[in-house]
Amino acid sequence: MASDTVLIIGGGPAGLEAARLLGDLGQKAVLVEQKSVLGGRPIDESYAALTHGFRSAEEAMNELITAAQANPSVSIRTGWEVAECSGAAGDFNVRLVKSGNGTSETVNAGSIIVATGFQHFDPGRETQMYGYYEYDDVITLGDAEKMLKEHKFVIPSKGSAPERVCFIQCVGSRDRQIGNEYCSKVCCGISSKLAIEIRQQSPSTKVFIFYIDMRMYGYWENEIYWPAQEKHHVQYVKGIITEIIRKGDRLLVRGEDTTMGRPMEVPMDVVVLAVGMEPSKGTKDVAKILGLKQNKYNFIEVPHDALDPTATSVPGIFVAGAAAGPKDLDDTMSMAGAAAMKAASTIRKLQNSNSKLQSASA
């Protein structure tokens, strides 16, 4: 007899959405989150507004969390980790361990959804010379989100409002030397969204975005990029910054202004590194524990990505969100819905065939 429980690993947007949907279907779900709080990156990294749509990240995530928590079919375990897994589709036995005290418990699950997400690229690892750990005023998208959420976007070293801020795109993405050859997909949109927020909070601040290509697919073009440029006067300059050097108490960004065909050395008060996505530690650990194939970048491999975007290399185990590679929220939520459906139907198919077998033998 197949277990009627779906185990969801990860309490971010994908995991919460899958839990909520399974609960709505009346399917039993156990959601495991290793951290003590739910909400994933948007909460953990204090996102200001969501990309796209500009809704408050906290408000939107709380809505998801409440919906999952309120559902009687959903059981949520925060502060628990996945330690071991055996069995196959219909009958997985997954041992969970409580962080800190080592208490352990085994969940019998018919199917599993992995929603362990991504982590931001560590800019200390880049091959260029952005000096993230040397210069206080070189920050990441996440740092910018935090300041904007508190409505206090300032020069970190001085505490005053910046005259000039720039974003450097593709940090840790599209780079063979770093090993991340893929495009992280969301950073162009997020930088542009943050640029709009900076201009709104501090209208006297000039904001520049240095880029290789602006990748604003779909509606991000007209909802984010065009308003950033046309309404909020964010300045886009084609040509990436190669290095940052200290000049007085400011930063000098150096690179090429490619459409002018000239080198540039321009002073900035704050430099925001548009760091890309990498698989989170949780994604890498869980993939190993569950025996899932990973691609060359250590994201969970999806063998038939185009037509079956949530199936992993193991039958009965599905993936949703950025554990499978760079995803935006739209992708993540769609995948969560698809994975919930696949996880539930896996269980029901097995239950149906079991009951047929039983009635045949009877």
Binding site: K206, Q229, E230, V237, D257, M260, E265, V266
Partner: protein, 435 residues
């Protein structure tokens, strides 16, 4: 050589062994860049200044796709395009004092292809208006402004002589003031057809055609003033408004059913700009007006224009679309219909024609910026165009904008294409009617 591949062989490139430019010796292997290489700052203030002007907003919208550069007529002879203007201004250039400000002819080919609708037809006049207020105007343009203000025409000719051309038209050219009765058509002649020798040829041809067709028409004579549209686009909005008011007052004195204009710039002014000042009249460019009379006109065109009737070879005529008739107002067919009706004429299209027609350089004030443009480009736009006409094997370059005859005739001479004849369509029709 294939048409358009104007490649220069290395042996045809000559380097100066010694050269002194503006007192500086740059002999030898000189660097092609004299400005500092490194961009040390982005002073967005200058871009903000442009975007703050009513009409200047869209310069900020450019995302650098460079579609405009591909079709900008100025970039072919120089280093100029809307994308470049956006980038240079973003990098700190002061457009208000830059020579680039006066290179745009407002031909509208950029706007035709621009995905972001960056509108140089609004941006340039807005910035130029400020430059005019600041007194930062090239002297030749300033003179045209002053002549227009003083004499009612940019050629600086006396107002009272505006209808003198009609004396030798050989047909009656009624002046409304003397006619003292309503007419079907008020023919607005325009400044160049009234005063420029080659413009007058077209005006007289028009007068003869109108007479032959039995059109009930009259002109304003000394009451007519320049339409002012090109002065507006060159930044003199105040002057334009003054002329518009004066012309509207003159038009309003008389009863007529519709206006026919000789020039596309006047057509554009009366159709789109004068209504904003209360002057709402039905206006037709002469090409569309004559197409309406084609059935009557056709039998009158008796004389074939081909050089030798015995050989049967037709005269190869190409047509230059005026920017303000074509792109600005969507009229591409009427001029071609007229040309095709003329016996002995074979219409040969140039590569850049219709929507992608090249610009003669005369629009947007370019008519009065010849020295400035010459100083900042490799060749005049009219010279580039004449070369294209010659490349396509044209014997006659037909035009229907009064700015163009003199521009192209000069260009034909300066580029050694003396054999290429430049004729207004009116002149060709008139010639064919002589049969």
């Amino acid at each position: 050589m294939a048409v358009g591949l104007d490649k220069v062989r290395p042996e045809n490139i000559h380097e100066e062994k010694s050269l002194i430019l503006e007192g500086m010796d740059i002999s030898g292997h000189w660097n092609r860049m004299f400005d500092p290489r490194v961009l040390t700052d982005y002073s967005v203030e200058n871009l903000e200044k442009v975007a703050a002007l009513p009409g200047g907003e869209s310069l900020m919208w450019c995302y650098g796709c460079a579609k405009c550069t591909g079709v900008c007529p100025v970039d072919i002879v120089g280093d100029y395009s809307p994308r470049k203007i956006h980038r240079k201004t973003q990098a700190g250039m002061d457009l208000f004092t830059s020579p680039d400000l006066w290179l745009c002819t407002t031909c509208m080919n950029c706007l035709r292809v621009c995905p972001k609708e960056v509108n140089m037809i609004h941006i340039m006049p807005a910035v130029r208006e400020q430059a005019v207020l600041n007194g930062e105007v090239p002297p030749e343009l300033q003179k045209a402004f002053e002549d227009t203000a003083k004499h009612g025409n940019p050629l600086g000719q006396p107002q009272r002589k505006r209808a003198d051309w009609a004396k030798s038209a050989g047909v009656p050219v009624p002046i409304l003031k003397d006619l003292k009765r309503p007419v079907d058509v008020l023919w607005y002649v325009g400044s160049y057809p009234s005063y420029h020798p080659r413009g007058m040829d077209a005006a007289r041809a028009a007068a003869r055609i109108f007479n032959a067709l039995g059109i009930d028409f009259g002109i304003l004579g000394a009451e007519e003033k320049d339409d002012g549209d090109s002065q507006r686009l060159a930044g003199e909005k105040g002057l334009f408004e003054m002329l518009a008011e004066q012309n509207i007052a003159a038009f309003s004195k008389y009863e007529f059913n519709r206006m026919v204009v000789t020039g596309p710039h006047e057509f554009n002014a009366f159709k789109h700009e004068y209504p904003k000042y209360g002057g709402d009249f039905t206006v037709l460019h002469y090409t569309r007006f004559l197409v309406e009379h084609l059935d009557t006109l056709k039998p009158m065109l008796k004389k074939p224009l081909n050089p030798s009737t015995s050989s049967g070879r037709s005269l190869k005529v190409t047509f230059h679309d005026p920017c303000y008739l074509g792109r600005h107002n969507g009229e591409y067919d009427a001029p071609r219909e007229l040309l095709r009706t003329i016996p002995g004429v074979e219409l040969v299209e140039m590569g850049r024609c219709r929507e992608n027609g090249y610009c003669c350089g005369g629009g947007g004030g370019g008519m009065w910026l010849d020295s400035h443009t010459k100083d900042h480009t490799q060749m005049r736009l009219s010279e580039r165009r004449v070369r294209e006409a010659a490349e396509y094997g044209a014997e006659v370059l037909a035009v229907c904008c009064p700015f163009e005859v003199s521009r192209f005739e000069d260009a034909a001479k300066s580029t050694g294409n003396d054999k290429l004849l430049v004729r207004d369509i009116l002149e060709l029709l008139d010639e064919s009617m002589k049969g």
